[in-house]
Amino acid sequence: MSFAANLPLFSIVACLICAALSSLLREKAAAWVTRILALAVAAAAAAVLVLALKTGQTTTYRMGHYPHPWGNELRFGILEPLFSGVFALVLLACTVGGSRELVRDISRSKRSLYYVMCDLLLATLLALLYTNDVFTGYVFIEICTIASCGILMIRRIGRTTLAAVRYMIFSLIGSGLFLIGVVFLYAQTGHLLMPNLKAAIAEIWASGQSRTPLMIAICLMTLGLCIKSGLFPFHYWMPDTYGYATPCSSGILSGLVSKGYIFLLIKLILNVFGRDVFYASGIQNVLYLLGVVGMVVGSVSAMRENDIFRMVAFSSAAQIGYIYMGIGLSPELGILASLFHILTHAITKPLLFLSASGLVTASGGDKRFRALLGAAHRNPGAGFAFAVGSLSMIGLPLTMGFIAKYLFAFAAFRENLRLVPTLLALAVSTVLNAYYFTRTLIRIFNTRDLQPTAPVRLRSQPHFALAAALLIGANLSLGILAQPLITLLRKGLAMVL
C-alpha cells in the first residue's frame, strides 16, 4: 500500500491531537496551529488526490486489523480528497480573514477555545468525507453539531445564544432522526459498513420481502440530514445563526458545515442506498420539489431583509435549494452539478460574509442598508470582494456560479418532465438573486451624499486581503478554467457509481 493512503487517517488524527493541545496554548499559538494544520491537511489531500488519480479507483483503508464487515474503514476516491482539500483551505481563509472580528467579538480567555472548535470541525468534516461506516458518520455528525454550536455561541450577545438554542434543537432533531434511521437499517441488514449495507439493501429490494422498513430507514436518514443542512422548510435557524455569529463562524457554518452533511447524504445515496434503489423510491422527487421551492422562497426572504448579514444568510437557504434540486434531478449529471455547486458555495459564501463584515465595520458597525450607502468607497477592498461574491451568486460568466448554473441547466435537458420546471426555477431564482445582490451593490457603491473620509486601505487589513485574495482567486480561476475540475468530479463520480 502506498504511503499516501495513510494520509487521510493521519490528517484526522492530527486534527484531533491539535484540538486537544490547543486548549493548553495561548490564543496566538492556537491560531497558528489551526492555520498550519489546515495547510497540512490540504497538502495531504493533494497527495491523496494524486494517488487516487494514479490508481484510478477507490481505495479502502482498514482502521485496524479487521476488514469489513468487522472493523471501521475509510474509503476514498477522487471526490473525498478534493473536497477535503477545498474545505481545509476555506477554513484557513475564514480563520485568517475573520481574525480581526474574532478579537472584537470574543473575550480573550476564550479565543484559544475557538481554535479548538475549528480544529475539531476540520476533523469531523474530514471524517464525514472519508468514512465508510454509517455509525461513525453519526458520531462525527454529533461532534460537528456541538462544535458548530460552539463557534456560534462564543460571541456573547443574547441573540447568538438564542440562535444557538434554535440551531441545537433543529440539529438534534435531525441527528435523532438520522440515528433511528441507522437503527432501522441495522435491524434489517445487520451491517453498519457501507459496502455490506449496499449489498444487503440491494438484496432486500430485489427479494419479495416487504420494502416498508427499508423505505422508512432511507426516509429518516435523508430527512435527518436535510434538517441539519437547512433544506427549505427547515431553514428557519439559518438567518439567526449566520446573521449574528462572528463572520468567521458564519463563513464556516454556511460554507462548510452544511456542505459536510450534504456530502454525507450524497455518499449515502451512492454507497449505501444504492443509486437504483434511491431513485426508484420517490424520495428524490420530494428533494427536488423542496429544492425548487427553497430556491424561490430563500431568495424572496433575502429580498425582504434589511440587514446585510441576514440577507446573505437567506441567500444560503436558496443555494442549499439548488444543491438539493440537483440531487433530486438525476444521479449522474444532477449530482455532478450539485457537487460543483457545493464547491461554488463553499468558496463564495465565506467571501461574502467576510467582506460584508468589512463594509459594516467601515460604516460604524451598522448592518442596515441605510447605513451601508457608499460603504464600498470607505473600504474599497471589501467592496470589491463583495462585488465578486455577488456576481458569482448571481451567476455571471467568468465566475464559478455561472458554471454551476450551466451544469444544472445541462442536467435538466436530459429530463423530459422536469425540464421546464427546472429551467423556470433557475430563471426565477437567478432574477431574484440578481435583484437583491445588484440592489446591494448599487447601495454600497453609491456616491450620493458621500462624506469625504479616508478609505480603509488593504495594507491596514492584511488578513482580510490575504483571505479575500485566496477566495477570489479560487473563484475566478475555477470559473474561467472549470473544465479540469468538472472532469475530476465526473471521474470521481464514475468511480463511486
Binding site: 455509525f135 458520531v139 454529533e142 453539531t145 456541538i146 454550536c149 455561541m153 443574547g158 441573540r159 445564544t161 438564542l162 444557538a164 438554542v165 441545537m168 434543537i169 438534534l172 432533531i173 435523532g176 440515528l179 433511528i180 437503527v183 441495522y186 435491524a187
Partner: protein, 127 residues
C-alpha cells in the same frame, strides 16, 4: 397485525417513546421540558438499538468460562453502539443545559417565546 405487534413489543414501545420525545421537543416552550423531550428521544433510540441485540435465552457476551461458541451469547455489537450513543447524549444534554442556564441568567425565564420577544425588544430600544 396484533401478532406482529406483540412479536415486536419492545421496538414498538421504543418508537412510541421516540415519537413522544419528538413531540415534547417540538411542543413545549419551556427549555427544560424541551431538554427532557430530547433525552426521551435519544433514550428511545438506544432502547430500540439495545433490543436488537437480545436473543431469547442467551447469556450476556462476557466469556468467563472459556466457552467461545457464538450460539451461547447475545449480540455484543448493539451494546457497544448504545455505549457510544449514551456518551453522545450526555454531552449534548450538558451543552443544552449550559445554554439554558445562560439564557436564564440573562432573561430570567425559561420560556423560549418570551426570550425571543425580549431579544427583540432589546433591538427595538436600540434602534
Amino acid at each position: 397485525m396484533l401478532d406482529s405487534l406483540w412479536n415486536n413489543r419492545i421496538p414498538a414501545a421504543a418508537v412510541l417513546l421516540f415519537a413522544v420525545g419528538f413531540t415534547t421537543l417540538l411542543l413545549h416552550r419551556n427549555l427544560l421540558k424541551k431538554i427532557i423531550g430530547l433525552n426521551i428521544m435519544d433514550t428511545a433510540a438506544y432502547l430500540f438499538l439495545a433490543s436488537l441485540g437480545y436473543i431469547a435465552g442467551r447469556k450476556p457476551p462476557i466469556i468467563t468460562d472459556g466457552n467461545t461458541d457464538p450460539a451461547a451469547y447475545a449480540n455484543p455489537l448493539p451494546a457497544g453502539l448504545v455505549l457510544t450513543g449514551i456518551v453522545v447524549s450526555v454531552s449534548v444534554t450538558a451543552l443544552m443545559l449550559a445554554l439554558t442556564l445562560r439564557l436564564y441568567r440573562r432573561y430570567h425565564t425559561l420560556d423560549l417565546d418570551k426570550i425571543y420577544m425580549m431579544a427583540r425588544d432589546e433591538q427595538e430600544d436600540e434602534t
